[in-house]
Symmetry: C2
Subunit: 787 residues, 2 copies
Amino acid sequence: MMNYSTGQAEYKNWCVAEERFDSQFLGKAEAIFSLGNGYMGARSTTEERYVGEVRNTFVAGTFNRFAENEVTELPNVADVIAMEFFFNGTRFDLTLGKIHHYKRQLDLKRAELVREVDWEAPTGERYVLEFRRFVSLADRHLVGQRITITPLQETTLRVISGINGQVTNSGVQHFIEGEKRLYEEVYLQQVQKTTESKIDFVLNTTHRFMKQDTPVQVKGLIQMDRRKIVYDFKQIALQANEPFVIEKLSTIHTSRDNDQRQADYTLESLREESLTELKEAAAAGYEAKFHQHSAEWDQRIWSALDIEIEGDDGFDQLAIRFAQYHMTVMTPAHDHRMNIGAKGLSGEGYKGHTFWDTEIFLLPYFIYTQPKVAKSLLEYRYQTLPGAHRKALENGYEGAMFPWESAWLEDGEVTPVYGAADIVTGTATKIWSGFIEQHITSDVAFATWQYYQITGDETFMEESGYELILDTAKFWSSRLEWNDAAKQYHINQVIGPDEYKEHVNNNAFTNYTAHWNIQKAMEYKTVLEQTKPALYERLDEKMNLAKAFAKWEECLPLLYLPAIREDGVLPQDDTYLSKEIIDLTKYKQQTHVGSLFEDYNLEQVNEIQVSKQADVMILFYLLEDLFDQKTKQANWSYYEPKTLHDSSLSLSTHCVLASDMGETDLAYDLFSRAARIDLGPNMKTSDHGIHAASLGGIWQSVVNGFGGVRMLNGQLRINPRLPKAWDRLAFPIHWQGERLECTVTRDTLDIKQVTGGQPVSFTHDGNLYTIEREIQLTLQPQVSETR
Amino acid sequence: MMNYSTGQAEYKNWCVAEERFDSQFLGKAEAIFSLGNGYMGARSTTEERYVGEVRNTFVAGTFNRFAENEVTELPNVADVIAMEFFFNGTRFDLTLGKIHHYKRQLDLKRAELVREVDWEAPTGERYVLEFRRFVSLADRHLVGQRITITPLQETTLRVISGINGQVTNSGVQHFIEGEKRLYEEVYLQQVQKTTESKIDFVLNTTHRFMKQDTPVQVKGLIQMDRRKIVYDFKQIALQANEPFVIEKLSTIHTSRDNDQRQADYTLESLREESLTELKEAAAAGYEAKFHQHSAEWDQRIWSALDIEIEGDDGFDQLAIRFAQYHMTVMTPAHDHRMNIGAKGLSGEGYKGHTFWDTEIFLLPYFIYTQPKVAKSLLEYRYQTLPGAHRKALENGYEGAMFPWESAWLEDGEVTPVYGAADIVTGTATKIWSGFIEQHITSDVAFATWQYYQITGDETFMEESGYELILDTAKFWSSRLEWNDAAKQYHINQVIGPDEYKEHVNNNAFTNYTAHWNIQKAMEYKTVLEQTKPALYERLDEKMNLAKAFAKWEECLPLLYLPAIREDGVLPQDDTYLSKEIIDLTKYKQQTHVGSLFEDYNLEQVNEIQVSKQADVMILFYLLEDLFDQKTKQANWSYYEPKTLHDSSLSLSTHCVLASDMGETDLAYDLFSRAARIDLGPNMKTSDHGIHAASLGGIWQSVVNGFGGVRMLNGQLRINPRLPKAWDRLAFPIHWQGERLECTVTRDTLDIKQVTGGQPVSFTHDGNLYTIEREIQLTLQPQVSETR
């Protein structure tokens, strides 16, 4: 079980802690405590090994494909974290002996993992250990570990530590073994190369030992095994009660690094450079490097972006920081050839692939707080256009058909084709998302537009943004199918956001967003032609815009938009509302997601009125001005009881909508559940990695939901609705290049514009306001929240 | 620690047992308890997992190469052994809670692994478990497991069991994942294909549950993960004190199987066939299949080949059975395209490769006891001739230059190029064996001749044997280097049997056996020309024997054979005797082999008078009639003190020689050490697998050493010398197609010829005897054994 209130004084609500060691639930802490800096991410495995552990370290963007019948994935780099300890010959292993004190915590403020153990070995001997670890935000190639061992009696310590390249991705080995080498008797180096993408990896590690702050020499024996180089420090005599410190500093570099793209790249130079960097870090030592790292966190994240929540017991404050922490460590902000994986860099789940999770769930955070990072993430999509064109062509369409799962720039579609067991047929279930979950294309267009509206970044639009919106619209117009009976264009055989409905026709979300996409393209085509002729010419040459426009003009009015029924319900697709309704109570009360599949296979689920996640609801969220409150209410009442929230992309959307509807209690309940997807008591949910989109969803719930921040038709709107549990919410946002600091209390909305540009306007409760440095509004008492 | 006297009554001296569980020494039991049938071998990992375990299953001959810079190796097949057990949610794990009773034993007689555990969970609940397991000698594709669980209180059992293809060879994944499939709700199947050699593997498994001998249905949930298909039997209600039985039967088939070489092979048919075989086994059940298996062991091995040793405490009796057991499970007797790996099929060590270990250390056992198996192993060498020719050509030589390490037929040389760390340079040590350890070629020729002399198998000689001897001689004559100063042919820059001396000139073993090889070829060339003209013509066409013979005639008299010095010492090579002599006491007393390399690198070791293993000694053993007793004594006195026996190929040779010299006490001491290479108290020696050659060496020590059996110039000689510890030794041997049963007591040698062919002659103490059904000789009292 996790504890969320362990931070003291200045660290209050900054720490997530585990206060009991249970080797049956290693994955939880490995994932939610994972460290990283966007360049690399490392699961927080313990130094010593346990059955069931998953020792993962990933470097963003270094995709490799193991075999023809697999998809590309982030390879699990050689492990530098592992260290074996023996005390008088007994292996340090917390499942043995007795634990007198145990605490492991992730300090979000300093991005440090700290573990304290007071361990009684099965022999009765007693050892106090402190483990500290960071992955540097200041030096992206650097991993630091510092272990302090205090034996309560004399002991002989043995430490085996080095670089272990025997790790795999669940058995898949992505690396060809390169040279292993010891330099100057202290620096261990191992080289690896990915099998297919041929990316060089160079790992270095070194150790330093100290007694009472004085460095001591420890004799070790260098050992090489397959893919493994370790030092065996066999006989270290420790005195009773005298702390002994081991510092281990490691570096990871790859030939894919964007500071390595010179024409004169050689593996030799990478090896030298990485070794030099390690030597410099070693000369500085753990504490100095850690200080630089935590200062960088303070400057780049916490001083600039901290959100304050006051009133509850502190969990909500911790949860939003936890979300911001992970959105920082998972995001390759340094390289616009890379994007965010659905599990960040914290596990093998989804193979490091990028989904619509980025555009719809994570990008809002970056657009509103770190527009440069948001831009980099959209540039990634722009650079994957060749793959999107290829996918369109292969499917008989035009324009840009974005892959459902996306990896390296040229990879195109990388969704695996087979998944979990089908309990009826006994075979693996076919995954159709890569073929027919097509709304990703309008999601990218929508995010591009949203970025533009919120930042006003015309340069980006000229370089990439307009093309993205036009090219995606080209796809949609080629994708439409003429239905001669209805005299309409339909979009058949798709999967909408709700993945429990496959091969449906006219999914509302898909049709409406495709319609929006074409409409937006038509609008920009006209504007560009009139206002930016040179750009227009360049884009026209690429995409034949005149011809595309004619097609758009023809099809847009005929594109079928599912109509709202008399009872207010918008049909999710052509057949959903006519499918069987079953008693879902058992599954609504499930303790683990996906319990439905213990009784039904996907084919059967397809025929029941049951949803995995927000579908119509997320349409309401993205295009909220198309639908009135009554419609939203009616659909909530219809769909939510049929929605199992089996996707982590569901709760936060529902939270924001509930808040919009004035159902603040309900919204807070949904927020609380969303915030516990990773942080909650279920010890198995995060085994394959944290839920990136749900962390974006926490921010969305806080800022878009309770903070009431929205961009509507290019206009900032702020309608906050503070949950009862909170007294105060303060958050920064960026709007059109200006930084606004918003503070919401029960009675007031205070906004400071702390940058000195054009005064920002916004609407609140239907009125337009302009901020001249600061504005303070009195909030209306919230309406009764009973329905 | 192992216990060797656990077998009771008819199982006395048949069982090797482990009576304490220590998770720090898993490798020992995994290797020495390993099961197999020559087709496949499986390390005896426990069902439940532990840190440090090595879960290996290999199918003989299915070599694959992972990457260009690696050598081919036996791939680690998906694991069917693993099963996870949870009692009321607590994972069964012997490192937790308390063990009230523990015994794991390998019953050699029935080739069954049995584990008994009385375990108190950390919750205080108590469970009695019995695990039984076999790899069938009767059905080579079949693995059986039977687990009986008796809870001492009511409990809910959860079992997760299936097929796990996430295993690797120390991180190297040799398989492309194939389909996973559940048939008829009970049969799990997983397909794998090796990445480069494209061998299909099909694994099937199924479970059966019983309460009090009555089959019961247990509901499970099928689960598929990457390379993994398992059943999760989540809720099995067990009554207190009521035994619950789980039977798991599994099959492994591959497209390399020699019953699958039809032109119409398809993966589909292999899948069907393997599934059918599993269904048949499941219909019969564990007990019936186990009975067939143990009956096969009795008939094929123990009734036919048992060796009896009486007098000591039983360890020696057990040791010879242990050797015979492993020589059975490791040897792919069913397929003459395969040979024995240096670690059998019991570990990743030496990658499943075949060395001279087969010819010099293992083949004598098979020649004397199972000539058909010996023939198959030599046929393998014959079939690898193309690779041997290629190696010769690539090195500028002629004829057959056999690879130092050999794998699949066409692979040629597969010795890896880099090994352990060089403590001086910090780089990996280069392994020169594949380039210059050339005596393997005369070893093959010698073994061929030995097989022929002992079996009289003229058919084999005509089909393969003569060609092997002639072709290897062609290599040697092309290999010789003319030394103009000495007016002699030399063999420079080689490694002899002693691998601590690299790049030496005129290694005595190499030169003498090369000389022998050419001499033998000349002899056979002449005989064939005269007596088998058709065969001669065929071989002459292949090898141009006339030209080869001319070359042999020219070079044989000029081939330098190192001369014995005045003090009787035969120089191991040109420079050994002039190298530095250091105090080796520390290393002679080492507790683990290779301790020398903690102080010196190989380059430095090369300059010291220190030997890894028998070198001159093994020359004396193979060509014993070339050297007199005095010479043997003198060289023993010189070399043995400088020999660290760091190779498992050293002690048994020394034992046989000591016995030959009449030093029976010393011989027994060496035997005792040799017999403990795998069975001894050192818990780390066998981690990478059992020592195949040393097990052959145990047999050699017993039969060639104490039994005094030797083939000398085609004549059987039997000069037994019983160690003091023994009262009686009885062993069978085959000679020229006849079976002889030899019984040695302190005073008598009794030989029965139990087959009715030509009466066998033999020499004993210099006299010639002929066996007419039975002969009994009185032995001379042994001479004093002090030197």
